[in-house]
Symmetry: C2
């Protein structure tokens, strides 16, 4: 490709709404162009990268036995109503009425449509297993689109959907996709981590997220460096800090803690470690029975330095639908104000739910249910009843014991770019997608679904690979593998001849090369290609040619290397093969 | 590809809503699956063909210097309002409101977006010419979607948009695209014709349509077999049947023609040729001036056996906005009832507009403006004034003189699959898309646009290439080049070995081969592949193998040919190269 026939458009400054580095660099490198909030045109330089992502994904899907099809963007509301998601999806689902007033959705995902396709095509277990995928545009009407391709509204995803006759088959299909994802992310050349994830709203029996590691990532990834344990923060199990509860050593003492309504302030006032304090959260669960509203109260206890994990909380029996108690409720139930609650002296009907670490604490500090006072030296069993319920309620922290018992946990940041789900029969049952099994009996299809955020990969790859000059693409994703930068090609016959020869040789060798024939000054030319992030650059200039040399510089190299003209192609091939 | 790992689903009968053969065959061959009215899932067998179409289009676009990008599907209403098309497009434009109530369109085409991209990127004539294209989903909310992929609502098109500094540049860009289209349709292996077209609502200075020739085509294509003249029916110029008007030979005679309100009935009653009759159409044009409505009346005259061309009519000065006159108006203006109007004795203020052929008639038959009577032997100049206006008003018919004077016209049917337009500055002026010319003065960009209906190609190719067994794909578009049909692969080791060897050899030779390992009976297997339309088939059976042979049959062959096993691959390669 000659740059003059391509389209290159770079900016010195990123627009002010570009908050994160990948958004800034993609805008500056002319890879995307904003059309509206969360809606981008993929400019030639950006689309070329997207096509490379798609090609790798497609090859590995085909290799795994998945079959490509293409489902429509505009999907009838009726299908979404069958699974109840027409109502559940809320404002993120872009709803459309056609000229006849019929309702449709712009697909945010395609479980309903693929299940509809399969239920009419599959009659017998003999037709299974099946795995269909498509690479398609999606739309999610985010309330606050931002971060460029990382949280846009219109974006491209690959989604695969597997159909099996039983759980074991589905889990085997899941494993095939998981392995394909590992190959895909390895081929991208990105540092990534697969972590166990909570299934969340989509339902089903298991799932993993694939994250690109980046210090700017939105998600915390928990892993054990000495084992293969890995989970996202929602799913990472927190063991109690003390495996067993120490014996009580202190007497229960009520101490004045004026204005200390948070554990940090209590620890500071008492000059005691924050890890010795217990924080209390008051929750209310409302029940309606025979038209009458009743309320149930829960007291959650966490160590003062630990954070509540909302997903884990939602799984505690009876707490799926909860809210924080109001000040009025707290006053009524606990006889005090927020900030001074504690388990000692709570009356029925409060259910005390202690985090595992709190349940194994001794001599702890907690609110005295008396405004301005806390207890020190509090102990379970002696000063108050054992907690009604002990549960994993907190986020893990670095240094926690790994749940597999094989080391301690570390945490790093990641960007979610892939997600594999064991869906089970959630969709097939709702949509009556059945097949006849070996005994001629109808059974619901066992499903899995597997997504990769194609356009999001670009943003994530940049967040992982950039410097102050611009993007540093891994080889597999670079828009061009090699750029040739002639110095004064229009003035020097020698430069022109050497450039054209190397360009022809590189093309003949199948190298994805771009020749910068725009005639720009060297400074601007180099700045453009460093910003765009092409991995390999060769400069052809009269000064070097006089000594028979070209200048090679890798995008991560701090200096250029002189390479004899005759050896240039072999040298470049060697670099590309690394 | 092994059929067991692909997805093949054929039907004996087409669904009742499939009215045309391409729709029926694509449904039966499992290439598309209906999701809603005019909305289809492209099943694996269909998508594979679409990808082949896209690949050819992409190669030729790149080869022509066009650069690929991808514009969003969801486009802000504001851009469409700038060109006025938000209002003009009517119900075909799918309008969408997002969660914040902002208005968007699902793209039916992308002139507005590309012009918006270019106006912010292009500053100087030095950056021109440019040609951007994208292959993208479109949506047109057809009132009555039908014919499968031929008139669907959601479909795929390639659209290219060229930007030039002046008219000559734009016309050069247009020529490059026109030539690329010729190469594309040649590579598809389809019989096609490029015809001059009317620019219609899109505006601009010139356009051509590319049609796939098919007897079932919706459009009439006019061409001259002895020259390169070709136009669609709207644009084909009709010369007068008589180059000059013959002298009057008959006396004007008023004859009774009871109940003969149409030329056919008059000719029948009078036993005179239909080509001697003149039919009259009464039109009204309304003008509003200073809040007062005035009406202008036009009498159109066509030869009795000719058809009115609405597009030509719309171009007659003063007739851009017209309607047929009401019975009341006819009675008031002409003093008679419809069916008996004629030019003789019409009073002012009627403007008589005669088709060129009518203007050169002598001794013609026309209404007498008296219910139940016609004139014979009517002559211009002698019996009535010359027509106020002579214009080309009719559709050409076979045998008409070609407008280039190089022969006579023929007509064939076609399906429009491509359209190239010289847009000029219609969009760039509306959207203020200017560049600085050599003198530093802002000038509007000269634009062209170039579309190919990617999914429509499939339907058109089938309408041109089918028989009673199914589809007959041209080699370039076939989902697979070759199918291997083993007879009893699970029973015979010899069949299995010969099949697997040929399959491996074909794959190694880069042939797009599918091995039908589904274990179906021969009859069903052959019927499936004839329906799907794979061009080349090899049957591997014990009977043939005993004599060292395989059986080859091309999709258009009436019989199979025995081919020695050892020569099979070379034989197939020879067939593929034809």
């Amino acid at each position: 490709m000659r740059a003059s026939r391509f389209f290159i458009s770079t900016l010195k400054e990123a627009p002010s709404d570009a908050e994160i580095v990948s958004h800034q660099l993609m805008m500056r490198a002319g890879m995307i162009k904003r059309l509206g909030s969360g809606i981008y045109t993929y400019m030639p330089m950006g689309l070329k990268i997207i096509r490379k992502v798609e090609a790798i994904v497609r090859e590995e899907m085909n290799q795994s036995g998945a079959v490509e099809l293409l489902m429509p963007l505009i999907q009838p509301a009726e299908l979404w109503q069958e699974t109840g998601r027409w109502d559940k999806m809320g404002a993120e689902l872009l709803r459309i009425k056609d000229r006849h007033g019929r309702e449709f959705a712009f697909q945010p995902t395609a479980e309903e449509v693929i299940t509809d396709v399969v239920r009419s095509e599959i009659k017998s277990y003999r037709q299974l297993p099946l795995n269909f995928y498509h690479i398609q545009t999606k739309f999610r009407d985010e309330r606050r689109p931002r971060f460029g391709l990382m949280r846009g509204r219109e974006f491209t995803m690959k989604d695969a959907y597997s159909f099996d006759r039983d759980l074991a088959g589905m889990q085997a299909s899941y494993k095939v996709m998981y392995d394909a994802y590992v190959r895909i992310f390895n081929r991208f050349g990105l540092k990534f981590r697969a972590v166990a994830a909570d299934n969340g709203a989509i339902g089903g029996t298991g799932s993993h997220e694939f994250h690109v590691i980046a210090s700017t990532g939105e998600d915390a990834l928990v892993y054990c460096p000495t084992s293969d344990y890995a989970a996202n923060m929602e799913a990472a199990e927190a063991l109690p800090v003390n495996a067993t509860r120490p014996a009580a050593a202190q007497a229960l003492t009520k101490v004045a803690t004026p204005n200390a309504t948070k554990c940090e302030l209590v620890a500071e006032q008492l000059k005691l470690p924050l890890a010795q304090t217990v924080k209390t959260l008051a929750l209310t669960v409302e029940h309606e029975r025979d038209g009458k509203l009743t309320k149930q109260y829960f007291m959650l206890l966490l160590r003062g330095d630990h954070e509540l994990n909302e997903v884990k909380l939602g799984k505690v029996p009876g707490l799926a639908a909860h809210r924080f108690s109001t000040e009025e409720e707290i006053l009524e139930v606990y006889g005090t104000v927020p900030g001074y609650l504690g388990p000692i002296g709570t009356k029925a009907p409060v259910t005390v739910v202690a985090d595992r670490s709190v349940a194994n604490m001794a001599d702890f500090i907690c609110g005295a249910n008396d405004a301005g006072y806390h207890y020190t030296g509090a102990n379970w069993g002696r000063d108050t009843a054992e907690p009604s319920l002990v549960a994993d309620l907190r986020n893990v922290v670095e240094g926690d014991a790994s749940p597999d018992g094989k080391g301690v946990l570390a945490i790093e940041r990641g960007i979610e770019v892939g997600h594999v789900f064991q869906l089970g029969t959630a969709y097939s049952e709702a949509m009556k997608a059945t097949f006849l099994d070996e005994n001629g009996k109808p059974a619901p299809l066992q499903m899995g679904c597997y997504g990769i955020g194609v356009t999001r990969i670009l943003g994530a790859a940049i967040e992982q690979n950039f410097d102050d000059k611009g993007i540093i693409w891994p080889a597999a994703l670079a828009p061009f593998a090699l750029v040739l930068c002639p110095m004064g090609m229009d003035r020097s016959e020698a430069v022109k001849a050497a450039t054209e020869q190397l360009y022809a040789e590189a093309l003949a060798a199948g190298i994805d090369v771009i020749l910068d024939d725009r005639g720009h000054r060297p400074g601007q030319m180099f700045a453009d290609w460093e910003l765009i992030g092409v991995p390999h650059r060769v400069v052809i200039g009269d000064r070097g040619l006089k000594e028979g040399n070209l200048e090679y510089q890798g995008r991560r190299d701090s200096e250029a290397t002189a390479v004899p003209v005759a050896e240039a192609l072999a040298f470049i091939k060697g670099k590309l093969a690394q």
